[in-house]
């Protein structure tokens, strides 16, 4: 499809405001004004509607397609949460209102949403306090590691290293690095963290360790109590990457299990839409000893039931967001938690784990599952059988697209060859899982007879495989290059 800029017709009227009485040249010196026009398109409203409706039809989304994308928790996003987020009482609220003395009274509803959401997340995770400020999962990681750094600095500890298991998301080492730490890679054993391996890298310079539990193989880290004890021995803190929180709601609380910091991905576990890659939200919870270091501001409740923002935390890491995080995303998550309640959240976790295990058993005869035991909410299979790779994960992924499915996560985690990571989530029915398994089994059978069937996929989509090398070399990042 042509770009929207190519569809521009000079002079065509869009959604224009009234004509102003004065213009920039009447009010500002000529030297401060732009020379050439920005050359934005001139289109009618219908031109724009046609163009973007057309573009939307080139996409897969959860509403139209099963999305078993491991580690991303692509569950259904209930529509009523969108209604909530669009309430004018919330959307029109200026974020600086509460900074005007006394004006906190103008936004009590919003402050109450923030306060109550923090309380609910504390209870779900067993943490002492939460901040809603981080604007994405990776941002939550960075905030959490900054809190770890502030804790050690305050105690006078000389700590320079963060341990990250090899099964972790790539964001973990990048976040630790940006927070100023050296990253120590920890190899896993039999799919999980091994205390003996940990002992080899654990010393007094270790500030903390970032764990995903269940880990990215979908396996529960059953040595956790031992790991907690070892870290305590050197005053190192334990970080919980909440990307996989959907596996443990009501079954484990990370605070009770000994973690000091946790970030959640509201766009995963708490059903806010992924939006094609954002916005998300990555709230961070901490244990009691880390509360003084949380970002400012913090919402508090007074005895008379009023809410206000407190900026007076001298040990705080400071500001990680301009205001209070992605409030519009928090609203959706808050409404979702209220709707499900205690039983609903537990049921979501149970169904997510049940569905993952069911799909694993349906597929483990046709795909190798390297750690073929009870998994949590996701599992990792390999396209290779006994290290013989007849078909590639990428090709399976593309063939699935042709069948109307989004592909599973591929080539992650790096420790499994030709990895395919499946996470069906709790919102998909047994019929969908069965149809998906049948279709995948058929694809693999066809691929064995006729490899071109998968290597030539996809065939039914707007484009076939794209030349990524050319994209990186030509760097054509805009319509003007």
């Amino acid at each position: 499809m042509n770009t929207v800029f190519k569809k521009s017709t000079p002079g065509r009227e869009g959604v224009w405001p009234a004509k102003p009485g004065k213009a920039a040249p009447d009010l500002l010196p000529a030297g401060l004004l732009r020379g050439a026009s920005a050359n934005l398109p001139s289109l009618s409203e219908l031109d724009v509607v046609r163009h973007f409706t057309g573009l939307s039809q080139l996409n897969y989304g959860v509403d139209g397609n099963f999305y078993p994308l491991g580690s991303c928790t692509m569950k259904y996003n209930p529509k009523f949460a969108e209604t909530v987020a669009a309430l004018p009482g919330f959307t029109r609220l200026h974020p600086m209102l509460p900074q005007l003395k006394g004006a906190g009274r103008l936004c009590q509803g919003a402050l109450e949403v923030m306060y109550e959401t923090e309380q609910l997340l504390c209870e779900i995770c067993g943490m002492k306090a939460f901040t809603l400020h981080p604007m994405a999962g990776a941002h939550g990681e960075l905030t959490g590691v900054m809190i770890i750094a502030a804790y050690h600095k305050d105690k006078g500890n000389k700590k320079t290293k963060i341990i990250v298991p090899d099964s972790a998301h790539g964001t973990n080492p990048a976040s630790a690095h940006i927070a100023g730490f050296d990253v120590v890679n920890l190899p896993s054993k039999d799919g999980i963290v091994d205390p003996d391996e940990l002992a080899k890298v654990l010393d007094d310079e270790v500030a903390g360790m970032m764990m995903t539990c269940p880990n990215t193989l979908g396996l529960f880290e059953k040595n956790l109590p031992r790991i907690v004890e070892m870290l305590r021995g050197v005053d190192a803190l334990l970080y919980y990457d909440g990307a996989n929180m959907n596996a443990i709601m009501g079954k484990m609380r990370v605070g009770d299990a000994g973690f000091d910091v946790v970030h959640l991905n509201l766009h995963k576990t708490f059903a806010t839409p992924h939006g094609g890659g954002g916005p998300g939200a990555g709230p961070v919870g901490v244990s009691e000893r880390l509360v003084p270091y949380l970002p400012i501001s913090r919402v508090e409740k007074l005895e008379d039931g009023q809410f206000f923002l407190n900026y007076d935390f001298p040990k705080s890491i400071g500001y990680v967001a301009p205001f209070y995080g992605n409030f519009g995303v928090v609203l959706r998550a808050y409404a979702y938690i209220l709707r499900l309640g205690k039983a609903g959240l537990v049921r979501a976790t149970e169904a997510a784990v049940l569905s993952a295990n069911y799909l694993r058993k349906r597929l483990d005869k046709v795909l190798e599952v390297p750690f073929d035991r009870v998994c949590m909410h996701e599992f990792v299979a390999s396209a290779c059988n006994m290290s013989e790779c007849h078909v590639r994960a990428l090709d399976i992924a593309k063939a699935l697209l042709d069948k109307g499915y989004h592909a599973p996560t591929i080539y992650f985690p790096l420790i499994v060859k030709e990895a395919l990571m499946f996470e069906p989530t709790e919102t998909e029915s047994l019929d969908t899982l069965d149809q998906f398994a049948d279709d995948l089994i058929a694809i693999l059978a066809e691929a064995e007879k006729n490899p071109e069937f998968v290597t030539g996929a996809p065939r039914t989509l707007p484009v076939t495989r794209l030349d990524e090398t050319r994209a990186a070399r030509n760097m054509e990042l805009t319509d003007d290059l």
Partner: protein, 444 residues
Amino acid sequence: MPYVPHTPEDIRRMLDVIGAPSVESLFDEIGPEMRPKRFDLPEGQSEMDVLAHMEALAAKNVSGQVSFLGAGFYDHHIPAAVDALSMRSEFYTAYTPYQPEASQGTLQAIFEYQTAVTRLTGLPYANASLYDGGTALFEAAMMSVRHTGRRKLVVCEAVSPIYRVMLNSYTSNLHLELVTIPHKNGVCDLAALTAALDADTAAVIVQNPNFFGAVSDFSNLFASARAAGVVSIISVYPVLQSVLKTPGEMAADVAVAEGQSLGLPLSFGGPYLGIMTCNKALVRQMPGRVVGRTVDGQGRTGYVLTLQAREQHIRRQKATSNICSNQALCALRALLYLCLVGQEGLTRTANLCLERAHYAAERLTAIPGVARLSGSAPFGNEFAITLPVNAYQVIDKLTSRGVVPGFPLGRYYAGLENALLVACTEKTSMESIGIFAEMLRGSL
């Protein structure tokens, strides 16, 4: 149970296939010492009840105020089609476009967004967006540190204090030196900024219009920076970029912006949109996602995420940033906004903002004891005034009468306790400006 479709019969069939006696048995690996000590949450509610609760909370926020509060975040009109189109589920329920063949809609939209924002700033390259304007400014600073190998950042004090405190937090563990050059009555001190540039300086960071609303031409500062091997970073207000001299025309190296004003509601602080554009020398230092144009096996045009060798999933701790998402839906909204208002509509919007703000400045400074902080310095849609009394006093009085008069500059700037920052947009009516002026006159 809402949103979980499994019937008891489904669950039985699934457990049979798994060979597990019960759902609970699937959690056996979570030992007793790791089990929750409590899980004391409320019972679930019907959709109707949750909606009623949320409506009641929304109603606790006061509405209907006439507001002159901006400070970098502005209440602009959002065409209805922005909501209608961005709420198409194919956009908002999609994931990051890692499977490009099934994500051409998202990818082409981001490519078009990248094009639109480069046209606004006049710099040729853009990324797919970042969390917000403050994050974009920090990431721009880090680009300059990597590019130059230097560790000092020279920042104008008239850059948004909200962004400067974020810079402080982020750089505190990275052994970077932040040097802040004081503003002069709300205007950037160009001579002092120029004098501060030296062989250790990675970047000079300014904002246009600055936090006080003042508009400047930074061309000479940026030329001096270039001569000293210093990267020039400028934060801009995208709506006014339709009329103001562009970062490209000033020869900046990186231009960032808060994109909220382009079709995103204020929504109490987020989600917002961090716009980042840069010149060619810095492209490979850009953080986050980038979309590029290419072809498929049949030679048809298509779009992919590109330059991924910079990113965390490949480079791990050596990545240019830990950011692994963009604000795709917000970027889409900004693009929709720019397409719907178009060249003429955005220019009109900018001019209306200027016109209203200049009228407001005229009306307010006609009140005895009220003057512009920056004298006759040029300004855009926002300006600072000094009052004969503490600004909080005026805010207290006027907000209780339905007018939010602006932002008290003393909140961030010592010595400016009597100064008020006043913003207008195309939504600010001439009548409301008159009411504000009369109310202020009466309160002094």
